[in-house]
């Protein structure tokens, strides 16, 4: 069951009703049962066992870290706890690979395991660093790891942000509930009307890269860059909207990432909860350990951090190269940044408003180039795309020639030429134009209702059927 399936539209109201009708002191139990029930719907009972195991380990180890002395023993408990959580994650992720290589089909899925394991690690590290106190209430701690809106795909919540909210009494507030539903509806629109539509084209091209060249590959790469953003941020919106119904505020995971003026800024705007996690628990410890190597130490720490991030996304060369590309972009920027500033001053463009647009353009293309490796099915596909992506001159004339196969094929894929698609684009423009008015409590009721109706009608009429998965669930 995912947020964009019919069963969720029964599950959510039923859970909310049970939560609303229950006395405050038992509401955590309703949410915990709903969360385990939500996870059980994936029909993989071992996942429930993994969730319970990680919960029990991190709960006990958290108490132990706070209790034991001396420092060396605390550190041993921290490493032991983290190793158990990450080891469980690695086992769940690698077992299907081993099963496939052994000749049997890899049917195990690991949906959600990364996210609650990372949360458990951050919880243990924060106790060790004395940033947080250990949670003594096992039930609420279990809910902290299992809370269903963020269970499958994050955001990765810190103990200090979520645990106190799970203890607060719930009071119904019309404006909060309304804004939660509007956020959920906006997320659903982004997923079924925008992301899945872009995915039709990106998937077709990336699953058959050798049939395409130049412009088609470039358009598919742009389409994928937008698809992954809309797909992932839509999930976050729906997660945050759902949580808000229950009076819980989850972390905002995206802040207009493609408006970033540097790759470093992109990572402060993209998958924010994960970026904070790798920054705090991988990059900083590495960088501080290698601090006496100066700039080289920081550059190495960046490359290693993003290499690990790539390997987390998948054990394969495409993800390794994606991670190394981002690590290299960031490491290189440490060296060229001072010269870049001087160059802009020398050219007299340091204060030009066009400079920001130029930086946004360059950053978007650096990130999109890395997406080629992230999306391609194999390394040879990725290298083919990278080699042919810039063959624009040769392919453009063929692309624009009416009657050429790729031209029609691309247009049909996007639905261009059909009246329905023009109406869909009009609807997307209307929803985007009214987004602010639709989400604000104090805006004109008429504008708000036009936004609600446009969103609902678009989801019902233009949604791509039978796509129930979100890209980031596989990680």
């Amino acid at each position: 069951m995912t947020f964009n399936t019919l069963s969720y539209f029964f599950f959510l109201p039923a859970s909310y009703l049970a939560f609303y009708l229950t006395a405050d002191r038992w509401r955590w139990l309703v949410l915990l049962l709903a969360s385990y029930g939500f996870y059980a719907c994936l029909k993989a009972p071992y996942l429930l066992a993994v969730l319970f195991a990680v919960t029990t380990i991190s709960y006990c180890v958290g108490l132990k870290i706070a209790q034991v002395e001396p420092e060396s023993l605390k550190r041993r408990w921290l490493f032991g706890g983290c190793l158990a959580c990450i080891g469980t994650l690695a086992a769940v992720k690698c077992l299907p690979l081993l099963a496939t290589r052994g000749g049997t089909s890899g049917t195990l899925i690991s949906v959600g395991v990364s996210y609650f394991s990372f949360q458990a690690v951050s919880y243990l590290a924060d106790i060790y660093l004395e940033i947080e106190e250990p949670e003594r209430d096992f039930g609420r701690f279990a809910l902290y790891l299992a809370f269903f809106p963020k269970l499958l795909q994050g955001p990765i919540e810190r103990g200090g942000d979520l645990l106190p909210q799970l203890k607060k009494p719930y009071r119904f507030d019309y404006d909060t509930a309304r804004s939660g539903l509007v956020l959920f509806g906006g997320g659903l629109f982004k997923k079924v009307v925008v992301a899945d539509w872009l995915g039709l084209y990106a998937d077709q091209v990336y699953n058959n890269v050798h049939d395409y060249t130049g412009v088609s590959l470039l358009v598919a790469t742009y389409a994928y860059a937008l698809q992954i953003y809309f797909d992932f941020s839509s999930y976050t919106d729906m997660a945050r909207g759902t949580a808000r119904l229950f009076g819980i505020e989850l972390t905002e995971n995206f802040n207009a990432p493609y408006r970033a003026t540097s790759v470093a800024e992109f990572w402060r705007r993209w998958h924010i909860s994960f970026s904070r996690w790798i920054l705090d628990y991988i990059f900083k410890p590495l960088q501080l350990s290698w601090r006496h190597a100066g700039q080289l130490g920081s550059a190495l720490a960046l490359v290693v951090t993003f290499l690990i991030s790539g390997l987390w996304h998948g054990v394969g060369w495409t993800f390794v190269i994606w991670g190394l590309l981002h690590g290299s972009y960031l490491a290189a920027s440490n060296y060229y940044r001072p010269y870049q500033k001087r160059l802009y001053q020398w050219l007299g463009v340091a204060r030009s408003p066009w400079l920001s647009w130029w930086k946004i353009f360059v950053t978007f293309h650096l990130v999109s180039f890395a997406w080629v490796f992230f999306r391609a099915n194999t390394l040879s596909d990725a290298l083919y795309v990278a080699r042919n992506l810039f063959d624009l001159g040769g392919s453009l004339s063929a692309y624009l020639t009416l009657g050429s196969k790729p031209f029609y094929r691309d247009l049909v894929l996007m639905g261009v030429g059909e009246n329905k698609t023009y109406l869909q684009l009009l609807c997307i423009a209307l929803v985007l134009a009214l987004k602010k008015a639709g989400q604000e409590t104090r805006s004109q009721p008429a504008l708000r209702w036009v936004y609600y109706l446009a969103t609902a009608l678009a989801c019902l009429n233009f949604g791509i059927p039978n796509i129930n998965k979100f890209i980031y669930m596989q990680f």
Binding site: I131, K284, P285, G294, S298
Partner: protein, 79 residues
Amino acid sequence: MTTAETLEQIFRMVFDDDSIEIRPDLTANDVDGWDSLSHVNLITTVEAKFGIRFTQKELLKQRNVGDLLTDIDRKLAEK
């Protein structure tokens, strides 16, 4: 010269800004150019100037200049 005065001099040198005045609640958000790279420069300069070495836990726990000052004073007292 007190620890705070020496630390203020280090801040001015690392961030190339003679107007910086440190206070216990000062954080990276308050100083222009205080990013992860300049933080490493700051820490290595502090360690060299005071002849101390922080543990990784101490560095990861520090949230503001007040925490840094407390750790420097404790390290100096232990010497």
